[in-house]
Subunit: 141 residues, 2 copies
DNA sequence: TATTGCCCCGCAACTAAGTTGCAAAATATA
DNA sequence: TATATTTTGCAACTTAGTTGCGGGGCAATA
């Protein structure tokens, strides 16, 4: 598991440091997306807030993680699939936010639909966020 | 124009006050969506930050405006169409963010597509944000 | 239009979120 | 192992957002 973390970092030509390993490992073990706060808390009180910010920023730049938009000013982060390359990554799957438990999931198998824009508009990226109740919450009721 | 503002406020059983009129008027005159910062600046230095926050919150609750998710921690607000009712409003159109000029638009004519979720998931709302280059920026180049 | 009650605004003080510069420590490289 | 480069942590700061409360504006009624 830790080997995998080292590998990912090296493949992206990043120095292998404690904080990067710890935070990346979080993403690998946790199911779903993480908000900044989650990471600060779970990654341990060991790291400075600034380090968490910078590490996340680095990961996003390298295409290791991607951001998920929300309507409540709380950007969340999730692992990208392996085929994401630096800068240009293929984030065409949709995201699901459970309105009960609040968890955010990447539905990797469901691709964003085609959208036909009005004349004069050029398309570059489509983000789809679906809200509803997740499988876990539905089965628990 | 000001009559329209008064009307909207009364229809939503809100007291007609200076700040509400001014901020609502902003939304009526400006094309596209506004970020909180825009509102604070354009609505005039006359209003307290807290008032802007509370006014926006009230408008969202009443269904006069709705929020648009972004990936950069900057929620934007846009006017709802008239048929939005309190609490439950029909925000099934898609949103467009121009990566050149940064403006955010509601594409009212384009509805969010159907999404088929995996088994066990229940759908409640779909948010679609399309990024690209808007008509204005395309024609100016 | 005067009065009364209620709602809204602005102020102050606070918490949370995010950024920047710099020196010290850790990492990579040879 | 020694050196150059990156990364970290600290401090200080800016921006964003929240809460409580007293004074003032708004609406409703007569």
């Amino acid at each position: 598991m830790i080997l995998q973390v080292d590998d990912i970092l090296r493949r992206n030509s990043l120095s292998v440091t404690e904080s990067r390993k710890k935070i990346l490992n979080l993403f690998l073990t946790v199911q779903g997306a993480l908000a900044h706060g989650d990471i600060e808390r779970k990654a341990g009180e060991k790291f400075d807030r600034v380090t968490v910010y910078r590490t996340l920023q680095t990961f996003v730049e390298k295409g290791i993680i991607h951001t998920i938009p929300t309507t409540d000013n709380s950007v969340r982060y999730a692992l990208c699939k392996d085929n994401c390359t630096e800068g240009h990554h293929h984030d065409n799957h949709i995201h699901f936010i459970c309105i009960k438990c609040g968890s955010t999931l990447c539905l990797e198998d469901i691709l964003a639909p085609e959208i036909l824009l009005p004349k004069g508009f050029t398309l570059s990226e489509i983000e789809v966020v679906v809200k509803g109740i997740c499988r876990d919450c539905n089965s628990k009721k």
